[in-house]
């Protein structure tokens, strides 16, 4: 299934990236997939007991955020799918891109970041790595500064 994949986590860039993805889906008349990755690697080994609960709550948060995104797409007359994966963010995105034969990946950037002239922006680095390893073009969408 070829289509636009929009990875979202509910951060500052989430609305901008979702709107851009919806716009592309309208223009290209292709599938739109909203992707959320549950990544518990930040919660280290001592929280082992809580990990199942953390996963469940992140799943809950992800489902809610994806439903909001899906509703936005629906309001623009675009049908979309939602996918939740679990694992390392970068690895899971790459894996999904391979499985879904996506045409483009859109990523949101945190507020306050700019296009990194010297390539030191963490999101830009991640985008570059994903693009190199998956062969799928990656576009970063930055929120408007208010």
């Amino acid at each position: 299934m070829a289509g636009i994949v929009c990875a979202t986590r509910g951060g500052a860039g989430s609305r901008a990236v979702q709107e851009q993805a919806i716009k592309y889906a309208q223009q290209q008349e292709c599938d739109l997939i909203f992707l959320y990755i549950i990544d518990v690697s930040g919660m280290d080994e001592a929280d082992e007991r809580l990990k199942p609960a953390v996963k469940e709550e992140l799943y809950w948060l992800g489902r809610t955020l994806l439903q909001i995104a899906q509703r936005r797409a629906k309001n623009a007359n675009i049908s979309s799918e939602v996918v939740i994966r679990e694992g390392n963010v970068q690895e899971e995105i790459r894996r999904y891109l391979r499985e879904s034969s996506a045409t483009i990946l859109l990523l949101g950037a945190p507020r306050g970041t700019t296009t990194a002239t010297f390539g030191d922006d963490a999101v830009e680095q991640m985008a570059s790595d994903i693009q190199d390893q998956s062969g799928v073009p990656v576009e970063i969408v930055r929120p408007q500064e208010v």
Binding site: G10, G11, A12, S14, L50, V54, T64, P110
Partner: protein, 553 residues
């Protein structure tokens, strides 16, 4: 004349005097709290300033700020209230660095301050020429940090839970450690000075320290566990349950001191048990009563402590002994620098994933205020330990350091946090809260309007007219909130997490209710409650991780 009648009258006069002082303190506290909220000055700092101002004019507040008053009467409720709000999961995650700072840090701070005082006394300030044991006693007493002023500000500014727990946790544990080290230094000093009593080896000192430290925690843990699982779980009366927690706060302190172990640490352990187990075992009504009662108790006690600090400080003596206070300040700030930056750096090497961000270290360094415990220990010094002159000098230096940290660090920590970008309640979040509050208020008004109409208090015409205005207001408030979320989509995530927490709280109440009505067995009840609590703790963890990520960014 009847002697007993005279004595009775005198006691009555003294009682009325104390009562009057208490009335004045409460009235002033209310006034100061009101004003300080408007000018965004920490309430405790404002109280000290008012106390200082009052000390220049005759006033009827005739309460001596004695060591006993602070330690036995004022400290237990303050510590108990602070620990009630400490969530075990968050504390546990940061326990390694907290204990490192509280135990190794206090020990290191004691040595550094003691060393600087000794060297300064032998070189720069001859009037401070004291024995090493005396210098160490001062080092210990001044190493206890007091988070009251800082934590209140943290709450106002919405600083991350992790930073609050780091500051509060360190302070709660280092109070106990400082007291133990202080007593060991006094014992060593007395033995050295008089040649009487058993001398101390380092290993004996460590064993003694561990006995007092762990013994205190054990006493508090046993009592806290009993109260949480027996009284709070089985008695369904908010007044009896609240009274029991008061008895626990003071009782754990007294019992531990009777066993010659740390009373302060006993209260810490008891409070943690009640806050994390007892509170979950009790009804929502009792929970609210307990929270309200302890919040009020802490307010009253803090008001007394900080107002009396201001009243007792003798500014004229400060002017005459500036060099002493300057030495103490340099020693305290230098030792804080080494302790905070040095130990958190070591911790970062050992637990890289839980490294304390540099911004947090700055806040922890400047937020290391000194307060009630330091003063209590300084005031407990008498001429029987060291000469009267040294006792006076140490008390003066302690007052100087406490006032400096409260008035200078306490008033500048807020701007520092803002500059470091650690104030979690950003402008958009403040706006979100304002919009949500206005929405709640407007909806409540609307419901009241419906009731007035249904009860026949207002006519249909008036109701219709007012109803239209309310509907319009509601629409525009909703629109404003939507626009805010468009500009700041990240607010959505925090709103979802907050809503989820509220939902889990409702689920928990429903499970407790089902248990009380006998619908589910004890086993099922415990299983479901544990599951819900894990989910609640997981949400805290998620929130903290997200906030930590933002703080690093």
């Amino acid at each position: 004349m009847d002697f007993f009648a005279l004595q009775g009258a005198a006691e009555e006069g003294s009682l009325i005097q104390t009562e009057l002082a208490f009335v004045i303190i409460l009235s002033l506290s209310a006034l100061v709290a009101l004003v300080s909220r408007r000018i965004r000055l920490p309430y405790t700092v404002a109280l000290v300033i008012v106390g200082l101002a009052l000390s220049f004019v005759p006033n009827p507040i005739d309460i001596d700020l004695s060591s006993e008053l602070i330690l036995v009467l004022l400290v237990p409720p303050l510590i108990f209230e602070a620990t009630l709000n400490l969530r075990w999961e968050v504390l546990r995650r940061n326990l390694a660095v907290i204990l490192l700072l509280a135990i190794v840090g206090t020990f290191l701070g004691t040595l550094i301050v003691g060393g600087i005082i000794t060297v300064a006394g032998q070189t720069l300030v001859p009037e401070l020429d004291v024995a090493p044991a005396a210098a160490l006693a001062f080092g210990a007493l001044i190493s206890a940090t007091d988070p009251v002023a800082v934590i209140a500000l943290f709450r106002d500014l919405g600083v991350s839970k992790r930073l609050s727990v780091l500051v509060e946790g360190e302070s709660l544990f280092n109070d106990g450690v400082a007291i133990v080290l202080f007593n060991i230094a006094l014992t060593v000093g007395a033995v050295t000075a008089t040649g009487e009593g058993e001398s101390f080896t380092l290993s004996q000192g460590i064993v003694e320290f561990l006995r007092v430290f762990l013994g205190g925690l054990a006493v508090g843990a046993v009592l806290g566990y009993l109260v949480s699982t027996v009284i709070l779980k089985n008695v369904d009366d908010n007044l009896i349950e609240t009274a029991t927690t008061v008895a626990l706060a003071f009782g754990s302190f007294i019992l531990a001191e009777q066993f010659h172990v740390s009373g302060v640490l006993a209260v810490v352990a008891a409070g943690i048990f009640v806050g994390n187990i007892g509170m979950q075992n009790t009804s929502p009504t009792t929970k609210i009563t307990l929270n309200n009662f302890w919040e009020f108790a802490a307010f009253v006690v803090n008001s007394m402590v900080f107002l009396l600090i201001g009243l007792e400080a003798d500014l004229s003596q400060f002017q005459l002994n500036l060099s002493l206070i300057a030495v103490a300040l340099v020693a305290v700030l230098f030792s804080r620098t080494v302790v905070v930056y040095g130990l958190t750096w070591i911790h970062g090497r050992l637990q890289a994933q839980r490294r304390v961000p540099l911004k947090y270290r700055h806040a922890m360094f400047w937020g290391g205020l000194r307060g009630a415990i330091s003063l209590a220990l300084a005031l407990s010094l008498t001429g029987s330990y060291f000469s009267d002159l040294i006792v006076q000098e140490f008390q003066l230096m302690t007052f100087g350091v406490v006032l400096f940290t409260l008035l200078v660090q306490g008033t500048t920590i807020g701007p520092l946090l803002e500059r470091l970008g650690l104030t979690a309640i950003s402008k958009p979040q403040q706006e979100q809260q304002r919009h949500q509050a206005l929405l709640y208020a407007t909806r409540a008004g609307r419901r009241e309007l419906d009731r007035l109409y249904k009860d026949g208090i207002i006519s249909a015409e008036i109701f219709q007219a007012m109803s239209n205005v309310y509907s319009h207001n509601l629409r525009s408030r909703n629109q404003e909130l939507r626009e805010l979320l468009v500009d700041y989509p990240e607010l959505e995530q925090s709103m979802i997490l907050q809503a989820r927490k509220d939902l889990l709280e409702a689920e928990r109440t429903a499970i407790s209710d089902a248990n009380q009505r006998g619908l589910i067995s004890e086993d099922i009840y415990h299983e479901l409650i544990r599951e819900t609590d894990d989910r609640r703790a997981a949400l805290d963890l998620i929130e903290m991780t997200m906030q930590g990520r933002a703080d690093k960014e």
